[in-house]
Every structure is written in structure tokens, then in C-alpha cells.
Amino acid sequence: MRLRRHFNYEERTALLFIAPVMTVLGVVAVFPIAYSFYLSFFRIKLTRPNRTPFVWFDNYLHLFKDEMFWTAVLRTTTFTVISVAAITLLALFVALLLNQDFRGRRLVSTVLLIPWAIPYVADALMWKWIYDSGYGALNGLLYQLDFIDKYMIWLGDQDKTLALIANAFVWKEVPLATILLLVSLKSIPSDLYQAARVDGAPLLQRFFHVTLPSMRTGFMLVIIYETMIAIRHFDLFFILTEGGPGTASHVLSWEIYVETFRNLSFGSGAAMSYLLALITFALAYFIIRTLGRSV
């Protein structure tokens, strides 16, 4: 009766139809999210099934005091900034190229999609072979081109590790970002360029005053998406370095994996995950606020 009072026939029918989906979503998405938040208030270690005390915010407070956690935050930030900047710039360059008419454009567009189509695990294994200091293709190529006189250490050199992982990440992510920016480019009305030409604006001015501002939505989309992917990225770290050498590639996602699935500490692992989620949301909000102001 109450339902009938609040909703008309059409709304009740709609509710009936979406009820199964909402139930499934509730069970497989909402409940686990809520339950993992609940778990983050316990000290749960699966291998100590009989000792799971309720510790309020201890798991969170412990993280703030943990030096390794802040190192991981710093590494995650560095990785994200390097990756997103490189992806955006490279994707812009390729999108501008593909926006021109030239012979073989379709072929280039198709080839461009290959990295995107490769699963991350395969991508990581491929780069592991490329970077290997003993038999890697990178050393082989540089050696044959006389750029190096002896094989170099790549992933094992802590000063290069993060940049090399970022390189593998960028290689995989550029195609999607290119497509997003290309769509944005194609949607710029040609009148704007004609008007700029009539006003005597040279190529660079047209680029900075017409093209770039018109692509703001595309940039926002690329930056938000890639930032969220980069912050949470795990596969490459797992396969290429396992957080090493030393702690050179200890990023937040790796810390969460180790804490949750190696140490089987589900309470503190859940707390870390929630902090990561909060950071991701905050960043997305910041980017939307900054870039989206005049969209």
C-alpha cells in the first residue's frame, strides 16, 4: 500500500524490472564493499582464525605511522605523474598525426591498437624479456647499434626501475588515450579554424587557441582515466619486479597485495585499500574541478 502511495504504476513497473539487477549488484558489489570496510576495523589474519580483535581505527592509524606506507605513496605518485604526463603528450602527438590525411593512415590506426589489445600479463612478460640484463632485447639492440659497450642492468638498477615500468605502462595505455583524444579532435567544428585563418592566426596560434581549448573534455577524460588506472596499477609491478629491487618499486597496490594475499592480513589490507580508494576519488575530484570548470 505504501509503495502504491509513493510510486505510480509506471514507476512500480520500473522498480520491478530493475529489482533483480539491483539485488545482484547489492550482493556482488555493495555488500563486499561495505563488508570490507567493516573488516578494516579488525585485526584479521587468516592464519590466526581464532584471534580477530576489533581495533577501531588502529589499522588506519598504524598506516599513517608506517614509513613504508609513505614511501609507497611517494612511489605511486611518481609513477602516476610520469605515466600520465607521458601518455597524454604521446597520445596528443599521435592523435594529431592521425587527424591528418595521409597514405596508410588506416594501417597506422590499426597497428596502434595492438598494444591495447594485449593483456597486461602478456605485456609484462614481454617487457621482462626486453629488459632482462642477461639476454634482453634492449641490451641486444643497444649493443648492436654500438650505443653501449657492455650489457646494462635495467630493472635491477633502482634509479631506473620505476621509469622502466612506467615505460611499459605508457606503451600499453597510449592507444586508448589516442582514440579518446582523436574523437575530441574530430568534434572541433571546422568553422573555428576558418575563422582563425581569416583572423590571420598562424598554425601554432591555431593549435594553442583553438585546438587545445576545444580538447579540454578529451584531456579531462584521459587524465582522470589514466590517473585512476596508474594509481591502482599492479600487474607490471608483480611480474617485472615484485616490488624490488630493495623497495624501489614498492607502490601502494603492491603493498596492498603483499599485506592481503601474502601476509593474509585482511584487516590492514582492507584499510590500505580504502585509503587508496579515497586518494583516487580525491584526485579525480580535483582534476574534474580544475579542468572541468569551463567545459
Binding site: T47, D132, G134, Y135, P245, G246, H250
Partner: protein, 442 residues
Amino acid sequence: MKNRFEGVIGRRDFLKTTAMAGAAALTMPGMKAFAAGNAINFQTWSAAVDLVKSHVAAFEKTSGLSVEYANSPWAQYRDAMVTKFVGTAPMDVMWVSDAWLPEWAEAGWISPVDEFDSLMAYNADAETFCTDSMTYKGRQYGLTYYTDFMGFIYDADKVAAAGFSAPPKSWDEVVEQSLVMKEKGISDFPMMLAMAKESWLIEFMSAMVFSHGGRFTNDEGGSIMQDEKNGALSALQWVVDAVNKHKVVSPGCVETGELSGLKAFASGNHAFALLPKYRLAMLNDPAQSQIAGRAKQALMPMGANGSHATVGWMRFHGMATQAAADKARADNAAKLIEWFGGKSDGAYTFQKLLFLDIGAGFGVKPLFEDADIRAKYNTYADVAIIQEQQALARKKDVVTPWFGDWNEVNGASWQSAILGNVSPADALKKSGEEWDDLKSQA
């Protein structure tokens, strides 16, 4: 209007088909046992699956008992098992790694088997480190699946080309011979150490530490790794010097895992390597190795105050607590454990077949005298050296319920020292503090 399913399958047809499918399923061995509810649930990782299946079939035939056999990949095995234990999935017998024994025992998931005299009788034939590795807090938790140890492998041609008549006996001699090899252009980095952060790392570290006469922990389980005299310092210092001072080990060792190191050694890049002994078979196989016929094993080199000791490891058949709690189930589980880890038909059949099939090591001394085994070993290795080294193997002294947590920190500390970020003393101090901290929380 005609139902669109009409003519395809009717209700009666559906019920009939379902009943027949059910009956057919029940005639399958596993399902039959499941329906009867008295099958021995046997869980392993995915190794030698065909051999295990045929040995299970022989057991079922001989004992009249049913076995529900399942396996999952090694990489996910521990996580899968923990989930099953927590979810109280049916379990009687399973393969256990020595590294998980304390945490599984403390959690109450597995139970000691030392009350079964039939199983304990096999200890008389077993290597000491094998029984030690299956023992926690004075109780024995199983019988062998397979065992092996970390071996010192060398390329005999390179040693000869450098002008040496014998492989190094000490770690100082490893440096000495390596420097000559570097000078003669035989190898840029003669010694191969795989120090990447992976599950093998603790075995590599333990072999270095034991052969230097050190230990990570004392008999009471307290940390002594940071101790200058009896700890791990001289071993880590040797590695750091080998990489940074003598440059006989590649700085890339921190990114080299066991498999990558094996491939590099098999390609002829190095003269010496620390590798699991069972890798000798692959190294001397011309189809897989460029140094086939030249890969030999020597006793583990000694440190200044050390010995030829090395580290050994165990994978064994354990019994689930849920099985141990029920007398009938426990008796059946013990029979299966004996069939695999002890003798079946009066001989160590499974361990022997496992060795002949995949080269996995065995932990019982009498098998060294078996003619088939000796013949097989002689195709790629020196049985006498293997036997001598195996007798000097010791169990890892860090296997505790907090081993996994500590291992992450310890691995990073060793790598940091190798990279020159911290001194070996500071790296081990950090490892020791982490150990004490975790121990106090346990």
C-alpha cells in the same frame, strides 16, 4: 500457440535425462565415493599429476578405499588451501610445504601424524633434515612428498680453461677463480646468484648463511642474523663484496630469479651457480642446455668459519585436523600418507617413480642404493657428491608462523645492501628487529 520448447524437450524427457545423467555420474569413481561420503579427500598442487593419479588408482584397488583427488597450480596453492581451510572444505590429506607448516599447525588446520607408529617407522630411513623440516614444536606432521637441497654447480670446462684442476672449496676460492676467469675473458660475471625477490630467495640466502657457519635464528627462535660472529653478516658481506668490490657477481642479480639464472647458466654465461640440485638434469640435457655434459656439482663452498652445509627443503603429505578428529577418517588418511610417503607394496614406490619421472629428490637414504635410481643419476650427476651434500643439508631456521611477513622485509633488506643503499650490518639489523617485532606479536 505452441510452446517454442515443445518438440525439443518435454518435462518427462527432462526428468528422465536428468535421472540418467545422475545415475551415470554416480558410477564414476569420484562421484561414487562422494555419494558414499567416505572418500579420502586428497589435495595436491599440479605436479606429476598422471603419476599421482595412477598411484591413487593402485591405492584404491589395494585398500578398497576411495580417494577424491584434486589439484591446483603451485602459484595459487597456498591461497587456495587457506581459503579451503577457512571455509572448512572437506580435506583429509594434502601436500604441505615446510614453509607453511607452522602457520597451518598454529591455525589448527593440520594435525601431527606421530601417533601413527606405522608412519613413524619410516623416520629410520629418512635424512635428518627431512624429519626436522616436517617437525614443529616437537611434533611430526607428515611423510615425504619430495625433498631437495641447494647445490653448488660449476661448469667444468670453464674451471679447466681458467687453469684450475678442481672446483672451489671455499667462498674465497670462488672469488679467486672468478677473478682469473674475468681476467682471461672466460666470463664477465663467473658466479651466478639469483637474488630477485621471489620464493626461492630464502633458500639462496640460507645456503650462503649456513655455509658461512651462520644462522638467522638461535635454538630458542630468537634473531641472531645481525650477530657479527654467528649470524648472517659474513654471508651477506660476501655477496655485497662479490657484486660491488670483486665484480664477480652481476649487479643484475637483484632482478635475476631462479629460472632466469638457470637459463643464463645453461647458456654458458657463468662458471658457478647456486641452484636447486634437481636442475642438474636439465643442465646436462643437450636439448635444453648449451653446457650439457659440463655441469657438475661440488660441495657447497665454505666460509671462513663455515662448513659445506647447505639448505634443504621438504614438501610432504600432511593430515587435515578435520580428518584427525575422526578415528576412522584418520586411519584411512594415514594409510594414504603411507602409500605415498612411505612404502607401498614393500618399497618406496612413489618416491622412486617421482624421481624417475620428474627428477624430484627423495628423502629416504635406501633409495640411493636402488639400481634404477643410480643408473638414472649417473646419466647426469655424481651420486656420491649428491649423497654427501644431502647429508649436510639443514632445514631453514626461519620457518615460523610469521615467516611470510618477515621474508618480505628481509628480502628487501638484502637487496638494499647489495645495491649499496645500506651496509650489510644495518640491513641485518633491520631484519633482526622485524623478526623480534613479529615474534613478540605472535
